[in-house]
């Protein structure tokens, strides 16, 4: 299902954050790589910071989503209730449908 912005994920879609093993100025923290979550918000398109950090253009802008992941899924030893969650921003190419 496509979102209203034409981007490939819509609110509530299940996704997995992939580990691209990409070095450098990446914006996907290690603690969420490989984890499953749901699309919480379509932030629109942004110039790719992985390119901009090195003086390259970073265009065309790429979709950015806010992905919600349950804390118990991120941390096995999470000390808190099942309902606690974390939301963070992930660029399209770090996501795959789940």
């Amino acid at each position: 299902m496509q979102s209203s912005s034409g981007n490939r994920y819509a609110l509530g879609d299940k996704v997995q954050i992939v580990d691209l093993m990409k070095a450098g100025h990446v914006r996907t923290p290690a603690y969420v790589r490989g984890k499953y979550g749901t699309i919480d918000h379509d932030c629109g398109n942004f110039e790719n910071p992985e390119e901009r950090a090195y003086g390259r253009v970073g265009r065309p802008p790429i979709p950015l989503y806010r992905v919600r992941i349950m804390q118990k899924h991120i941390w096995e030893d999470y000390e808190g209730p099942e309902g606690d969650s974390l939301v963070l921003e992930i660029y399209d190419h770090w996501l795959r449908p789940a």
Partner: protein, 221 residues
């Protein structure tokens, strides 16, 4: 006595003639020394001017938690404005006459079911144009690493406890958006003026580390 360069025991042939931190008596860390050296080199090769650096510093300190508090109170008092703030934070700030920059602003609303906490694990992203420079604890490695992993423990250290039925939701400000938390309006504040309400909102409430009407806890992260 005439004050000459010789009094310092060094010559003044650098782009920045005086020590940057002359009234800072703490030992300079290697990272700070590197930063200062890099800054001087960039100035020397003409990539950036001292005036541009100063301009940026002044720009960063133009924001103030007071602006954030005003946005929140306006949202408490005006449902239409609240809708705007939640849909388009920048537009809401602009409507209050606050000068905005390119950075997006997402306003995250606390509800009876959810308490929100903001952190930037990768660096120290913070809506500076709105709130000014972040608190020291916000940029500390301890906060940045612990807030995502044990948020309830961290909140407890700020003096906040939430029952298990309330979801604690952490927002990692890791990419292009910036965040402020919209706390719930405290009970018993119905008759208060806008100014009185603004005064209720501590700076730390704007990232979810405090609540309106309660002074921030003493933090030892």
């Amino acid at each position: 006595m005439t004050h000459t360069d010789d009094d310092h025991g060094h010559t003044h042939d650098h782009a920045t003639p005086h020590p940057t931190r002359e009234d800072d008596d703490l030992e300079m860390t290697p990272a700070e020394a590197k930063f200062l050296a890099l800054k001087e080199m960039l100035i020397e090769i003409g990539m950036v001017t001292p005036a541009e650096i100063m301009q940026r510093l002044e720009y960063n300190s133009r924001g103030t938690p007071h602006y954030g508090a005003k946005m929140i109170v306006k949202s408490w008092l005006d449902p239409e404005f609240k809708k705007l703030a939640l849909n388009d934070g920048r537009a809401a700030a602009q409507a209050l006459g606050i000068e905005i920059t390119d950075a997006e602003l997402m306003v995250i609303e606390n509800t009876p079911q959810t308490h929100n906490l903001v952190v930037c694990t990768l660096c120290s992203c913070y809506p500076r144009w709105l709130l000014g420079e972040p608190p020291a604890w916000y940029v500390s490695k301890a906060y940045r690493s612990r807030a995502v992993k044990e948020p309830r423990q961290v909140l407890k250290e700020f003096g906040l406890s939430f029952p298990e039925e309330i979801e604690v939701r952490v927002h990692d400000s890791n990419a292009d958006l910036r965040y402020i938390v919209m706390p719930m309006r405290p009970e018993g504040t119905e008759g208060m003026s806008e100014e009185e309400l603004v005064a209720l909102i501590p700076r730390d409430a704007l990232v979810g580390a405090a609540l309106p009407g309660q002074p921030s806890g003493t933090v030892t992260l």
